[in-house]
């Protein structure tokens, strides 16, 4: 979508926030990294002045502000807004970390243990969103930020109160083909189970690198979403069940979020472990993650510590330990379960 060239001079102040740099631009507006007077980082979303008069965008902003009710642990919390300003703007805490779409694009599909962490974290985030009565309606990889402490769901612009009865005036389909649930494609009412469908799509994409209903022309993708089985080759066996269940065409058959991540099987014993012991593993009732992996953050943000599941930046992919055959299960760019001295 081409934007008219703006004749407004570049911003360096919005409200009491000092603009530092532009983070990105989209159809609705621009997002800037800004600082409070004491230097805290915020992300300020500013609506394109040309669109500011459109009531649709103002109502989207109001919906974003309504997301304040969701705990900031699961989103980028809204800290300030001026929906009636000229132009309208909204400030959230700046969450350092790549979006899931950027992470998959640069580092490839996620290995199973990382997927489990992602799934559990997203399930928890969606639970918090639904608990305040919202349905996100646009869960997709570009709306998920991988923060150090867990995934954050952002961009509530088209979220909707679950009990709202008014339909959008324009009647158009608002959502992202490939991530919209079948009922969304059909124009039916959305429920929390619709977000569960999107979660299934997100996980399948994160596991394989390709969306399960394919890409291409929107109407073809919508058709496949509504009528065809998703392509799930490449999804790890241990997660196939839950992902497929999330992608059920019937919303009533999708698993509720609190049972989305039941105890997974224990980490299988290493091949070649001593056979002399006659122990059997205990029951698999507990969900256990494998050891976190090391990655180096360090793109100049003030946080410098490695994260357990962030992909390695390009410059540090090569392992500095003795070269060895690549492990087949480790996807490219994602660190393997192996202690590696960090770069100083």
């Amino acid at each position: 979508m081409t934007m008219p060239v703006s004749s407004v001079p570049p911003l360096n102040q919005i409200g009491r926030y000092r603009i530092l740099k532009e983070l990105g631009a989209g159809g609705m507006g621009r997002v800037y990294l800004a600082a409070t007077p004491s230097g805290r980082a915020v992300a300020v979303k500013v609506v394109h002045p040309e669109l500011a008069g459109d009531p649709e965008f103002r109502s989207r902003f109001r919906r974003e502000a309504a997301a304040r009710a969701v705990s900031g642990a699961f989103t980028a919390p809204v800290v300030d807004c001026d929906p009636d300003g000229t132009p309208p703007w909204l400030a959230t805490a700046y969450v350092p970390g790549p979006s899931l779409s950027d992470a998959i694009r640069t580092s490839g599909p996620m290995p199973e243990p990382t997927l489990r962490v992602l799934g559990a974290g997203l399930a928890e985030a969606l639970t918090a969103i639904h608990r305040v009565g919202l349905v996100h309606r646009d869960l997709k990889p570009s709306n998920i930020l991988l923060a150090l402490d867990g995934p954050r769901v952002i961009d509530f612009g088209i979220s909707k109160a679950a009990d709202a009865t008014a339909l959008t005036a324009e009647g158009q389909l608002v959502g992202t083909p490939g991530y919209m649930s079948p009922e969304h494609c059909a124009g039916a009412e959305l429920t929390a189970a619709s977000d569960v469908f999107s979660l299934g799509v997100v996980l399948a994409y994160a596991a394989t690198g390709t969306p399960p209903f394919g890409t291409g022309a929107a109407h073809a993708v919508l058709y496949r979403t509504m009528h065809e089985t998703p392509a799930l080759d490449g999804v790890p066996r241990g997660l196939l069940g839950i992902v497929a269940a999330c992608l059920d065409k019937d919303p009533a058959r999708r698993p509720p979020l609190d049972t989305c991540w039941p105890g997974c099987t224990r980490r299988p014993r290493q091949a070649g472990s001593a056979p002399s012991s006659s122990r059997s593993s205990a029951t698999s009732g507990n969900w256990r993650r494998t050891s976190p992996w090391r990655a180096q953050g360090g793109d100049g943000c003030c946080w410098e510590a490695p994260g357990c599941w962030l992909p390695r930046p390009q410059a540090e992919r090569r392992c500095c330990c003795a070269p060895r055959a690549p492990r087949p299960s480790a996807a490219r760019g994602w660190p393997g379960p192996h202690s590696c001295p960090p770069r100083t």
Partner: protein, 720 residues
């Protein structure tokens, strides 16, 4: 060996994790008058600080309403200035509040450890706190307990915690001595006089005290008894000479006795102007934050506290006076530094001896942390023939290596071969010898034909004796001795697997006579002796038998789990039964004392006097106090420790005075911790080839020995 079918587990999975709401408790972070704060894990693997209120406070009138209102208010405030609230439950018998865990030190810790802040740093702190107060007040709250311990210096900016939930309790209702109405030295005069008349100005006063603390390391009203400090707050002028000139005026105005004369928060922000967070995030603080963040990434995998912890919650248990957060920090700090920066290097598989002291310099994790040195290889020796499930022990300066069918001795200091076992059976007998294990300074073996023999070699390979202990039965064969459990007071406890079932035998080693036998009911059994009694774990029950006579002295039921092979170890007056948990039993009476580490896959528990050590298969190692069962330390390694059951059949854990050594699973190697505090000293793994069998490991003083299927290794470890 086991023929009985395992019983189905009833009642759910074996480990009972301490859980409050949906959160699993991992560590106790702190405790105060109102309750405890735990580090806990959410179902989404997020770390939270879980504040749990004592039931006696919860019972105070209208407490729950106030708690609910304050939790809601804290939810509104969170954004940039306070950790977000995830959830709260005011109606639970133990009311709780979960906020996101922020891996950052408090201002108190930073000043104590690194000294006072610079003037620009104090200004940056002031700006950050003033903005925080602005948001707090805008949400309709007054903090009431702003102090250095409640200010976290996080990378994203100063975070204010602990909103004094329900500190609106009337002071007369408090029974604890902890001052929950504020902290002397940071309380405004009007707050000292009456806890009811506390408005936003009190927070400004506290802010002034905090800035003075940042400059001097103590409250501007000094230290001493609570009464003395409170008197000074109300009646005397603050001591501000050490506060930098550029800030003194501002701090003085915050500390006006009269609330109306203090600046407003908005006014403070204007006076401070634009401040630079980089002045607050000094290199030392950045390093600290990086280390804490790294630890925090390991914590979601930590095993939860056992549910028994919850049973002690309502009682003000006399917890040892330790700064638990820092101790946890200390324990895992070694981990973070060591696991990431340890001298991991590949050993060649061709068997050439690597020269000792040739280790590459390990990289420092970050400025300010000490990089640990790795072990140095003292010697390495190929075994004459490859071995399976070999084990090692040191006897009289000789490293003895044995597996089921062969045994040999090597000089422990240099590795040169000294002897190969050549056991002699009585004339006419020609059965193969099966090596059982080491006890009482000797290596025991058994050979069975129509007589079952027990024999032993000393550290020089010399045979000490061969005793017949079982006789042929109707089948014409004798039951073989197939386990050596323990040796004490010249008596060996051995296991015999016969047609009539399993038997425990006590053999007098001097004369060779079998003193007593006992039929055992379960195939999962084990025995140990302290020289006086034999302790037998038979399935789920423990028996204490006189060592010489076998007469039962006490019997404790339900000490073990029926599905797991038990391991037994002894501490002074305490027997530890390890299967899917560690259970302590008084050796004199059989009374159960404590249970710990309630997980499914744990190693044998090793003891050294008052300390006990055990590892689980998630890479966590625990140091327990044998008397109380409390954790002295737990170290979360990020390494794949090889844990193969509590019976210790695979020699995967070993203890000396200086070292606790564990074997790794995915790539063969070993890991050494310091037993006193769990500090991870080094990790050494052979990454040059595909995954192989885990090594048998042995700690001997500051030496660590290891045996793979083909090679023996001897390492000298640094012990600090």
């Amino acid at each position: 060996m086991t023929s009985s079918p395992r019983p189905e587990a009833t009642g759910g999975p074996a480990p009972q994790a301490a859980r409050i709401g949906p959160y699993e408790l991992l560590q106790l972070l702190g405790e105060g008058g109102m309750g405890q704060v735990y580090l806990a894990r959410s179902p989404g693997a997020r770390l939270v600080a879980l504040k749990v209120i004592r039931p006696e406070y919860a019972q105070a009138p209208h407490f729950r309403d106030r708690f609910r209102r304050e939790a809601e208010a804290a939810r509104r405030v969170s954004g940039l200035f306070t950790p977000p609230v995830l959830d709260a439950d005011a109606d639970s018998p133990l009311p709780w509040l979960a906020t996101a865990y922020v891996p950052a030190p408090s201002l108190h810790e930073v000043v104590r450890r690194h000294g006072p802040l610079s003037a620009p740093g104090i200004a940056a702190l002031g700006g950050g706190l003033a903005e925080a107060l602005s948001a707090i007040h805008a949400a309709g709250l007054v903090h009431r307990d702003l102090k250095p311990g409640n200010v976290l210096l996080a990378a994203a900016g100063p975070q204010v915690i602990d909103f004094g939930i329900s500190k609106m309790l009337d002071a007369t209702q408090l029974t604890g001595t902890d001052s929950t109405i504020g902290t002397p030295g940071f309380m405004a005069p009007e707050q000292v006089v009456s806890s009811r008349d506390v408005g936003r100005e009190a927070d400004v006063f506290a802010l002034g005290c905090v800035l003075a603390f940042a400059a001097t390391g103590e409250s501007p009203f000094g230290t001493g008894s609570t009464a003395a400090v409170l008197y000074r707050v109300v009646h005397e002028q603050p001591r501000l000479d050490a506060v930098p000139e550029s800030l003194r005026g501002l701090v003085t105005s915050c500390l006006e006795k009269e609330p109306a004369r203090r600046p407003s928060v908005a006014g403070l922000l204007v006076r401070l102007g634009s401040t630079d967070p980089a002045e607050l995030l000094t290199p030392a603080l950045r390093a600290d934050l990086a280390e804490r963040q790294q630890r925090a990434t390991l914590l979601p995998d930590a095993p939860p506290l056992p549910a028994t912890v919850l049973a002690t919650l309502p009682v003000t248990a006399a917890l040892p006076d330790r700064r638990r957060f820092l101790r946890i920090a200390g324990a895992v700090a070694g981990t973070a530094a060591a696991a990431a920066g340890a001298a991991v290097w590949a050993t060649t598989r061709t068997g050439t001896v690597a020269s000792a002291g040739n280790s590459p310099a390990p990289k420092a994790l970050s400025a300010g942390s000490t990089a640990p040195a790795g072990p140095s290889l003292v010697w390495q020796r190929e075994l004459p023939t490859s071995s399976t499930n070999g084990r090692i022990a040191v006897l009289a300066g000789t490293l003895v290596h044995w597996d089921q069918s062969q045994a040999a001795g090597f000089d422990a200091a240099g590795g040169s071969p000294r002897w190969t076992a050549a056991p002699q059976l009585p004339a006419g007998e020609s059965a193969a010898v099966t090596w059982l294990g080491v006890g009482g300074g000797a290596l025991f073996g058994a050979a069975t034909s129509d007589t079952g023999y027990l024999l032993a070699l000393d550290g020089n390979g010399r045979q000490l004796f061969v005793h017949p202990v079982t006789q042929a039965d109707s089948s014409g064969f004798a039951s073989p001795v197939n386990q050596l459990f323990a040796v004490g007071a010249g008596i060996a406890l051995v296991g015999v697997d016969g047609d009539s079932g399993f038997q425990l035998l006590a053999v007098d080693l001097t004369g060779g006579q079998v003193l007593w036998t006992r039929q055992v009911t379960s195939s999962m059994y084990s025995a140990v002796t302290d020289g006086q009694r034999c302790y037998l774990q038979d399935g789920t029950d423990t028996y204490a038998l006189d060592l010489r006579t076998g007469r039962s002295s006490w019997h404790a039921q339900g000490t073990g789990s029926s599905g797991d092979e038990p391991g037994l170890s002894l501490a002074p007056n305490i027997l530890l039964v390890t299967d899917n948990k560690v259970q302590a039993v008084d050796t004199a009476t059989g009374t159960r004392l404590w249970t710990a580490v309630n997980e499914s896959d744990i190693s044998a528990t090793l003891t050294n006097g008052g300390a006990a050590f055990v590892a689980d298969d998630s890479g966590t190692v625990f140091g327990l106090n044998s008397l109380s069962g409390k954790q002295n330390w737990s170290t979360v390694t990020s390494l794949d420790l090889f844990v193969d059951g509590a019976k210790g059949v695979s020699q995967n854990i070993s203890l000396s005075q200086d070292l606790l050594v564990l074997s790794t699973g995915s790539h063969p190697g070993l890991v050494a911790l310091r037993p006193t505090d769990g500090r991870l000293l080094w990790a050494h793994q052979d990454t040059s080839g595909p995954a192989g069998q885990p090594w048998a490991v042995l700690a001997s003083g500051a030496l660590a020995f290891a045996a793979s299927d083909t090679t023996l290794y001897a390492y000298r470890s640094p012990t600090s």
